[in-house]
Symmetry: C2
Subunit: 254 residues, 2 copies
Amino acid sequence: MTSSEAGSRVLPATPRSGAGAGAAADKKREAAAGAALGAAARLRVAVPSVADRVAAELRLQLAEGLLLPGARLTESTIAEDLGVSRNTVREAFAELAAERLVVRHPNRGVFVASLEAGDIHDVYAVRRAIEVSAIRGGGSPERVAAVRAAVEEGKAAAAAGDEEALGNANQHFHGAIVALAGSRRLDTIMAQVLAEMRLFFHKATLDAHFYRGWLADNEEICAALEAGDLNRAGDLLLAYLDRSEERQAAVHGD
Amino acid sequence: MTSSEAGSRVLPATPRSGAGAGAAADKKREAAAGAALGAAARLRVAVPSVADRVAAELRLQLAEGLLLPGARLTESTIAEDLGVSRNTVREAFAELAAERLVVRHPNRGVFVASLEAGDIHDVYAVRRAIEVSAIRGGGSPERVAAVRAAVEEGKAAAAAGDEEALGNANQHFHGAIVALAGSRRLDTIMAQVLAEMRLFFHKATLDAHFYRGWLADNEEICAALEAGDLNRAGDLLLAYLDRSEERQAAVHGD
DNA sequence: GATTGAAGAATCGTTGAACAATCCGAACTT
DNA sequence: AAGTTCGGATTGTTCAACGATTCTTCAATC
């Protein structure tokens, strides 16, 4: 289950000089750089470092479920697969470890993080704090509109029966709620938490009913928000998060 | 202003084998490992890696104000000063960058982070979200007692006229409030935010009046918490944070 | 005099190789 | 079957090297 089976891709972006540089196929998909929400928010059009690109690649594989929780990531294997040096991979690991996507076991290696029963409550504690606070603070019309857009995105996905799009829409919804606060730090914290949960969800694959519930909740919450009834919106969101946590705990928990 | 002037110390903990290993004075102060709140929370008595120790050392110098915001941290200099390799320093930087204590400017180096006007609001947004949520959720008697302890610690420090202790007490107070929620993640987020603010406060050095206000607020908040009036405690805390932010914004100006 | 441009120095980014420390599993003993 | 020893695999850390960038300096040009 190491990454050698799943990922034999090559890194995007321009190669520098590199000596042997194993695989040389450099497909240009630099455009993906725009989606960097959790990235280091670098000024201008700075080229992301190789380490950053490695981290991004791994993050992607993590999100896609190619790397399952508990899987081991061997430095040398990944270094070879991606055509970079071990040191660089190591730096990428540091980045991912800071985001809690992987855990380092000293002298044993890094493993894809896996949420324990206790972590569920923990993650939801963060979400409750951040999301409820954000929605209670309200936000500019544009930001509220972004929340609405996410709700509609979810409905459309549901109508189309696209499960993956539905999941994404839900994440957009909650991300948009946090964005109401207009805080870079809250945004990145939320992005990290969502990334953690995404990792987690791959196991307890989600059924259709799951989503139906979300949709109704999201609609109701969004409506309250639009109506300016922030307290009600906050209460609804809080209730939703409690229920969601409960369900997660039931599916996974002890 | 580089670190070479201020920090010519040596790293704590046991040396391994290291070839040339410049300075060989290995003072044993391993006991300091217990204070690692923001650390990676490693199981058992695992020896922190060298990179971790470098990061800890830098974190310390940052907290002590030896490294002022905007100061440049040169890899090779620090590597020499601390008697470790450049690569290791680099890994430590990654850790600190993830905590926002330093910023990386590609191809230019890493610099001690400095909060801009916008960051003030940002940081307080995080604090509002986390602290208020935590206090509204209440906590076990032991945790409430911890909050009380922090309040008393502050009073004692004030009586003794120890400014530094006063500042620490205040941080303990707010840390204890977050700890009410019993969430590892919230604790580390809070620890990071406080570390960021500590960095910042070194500039706008704090006068006595500053603290007096805190003390009264803390007492009142704690009292409400102990009385079980969580809503009131939350409101008070929120008001305090708003005032605090305002003051900070004024001192530091936009 | 101010702008432009071309060396030059200082660092960073990344690599490759090396070796001790550590962990894991398997063969081997008792 | 339980305990011990041994070897292999991988991590932790260091060192040395080199291209790539950025900053600085300084001279040449308009």
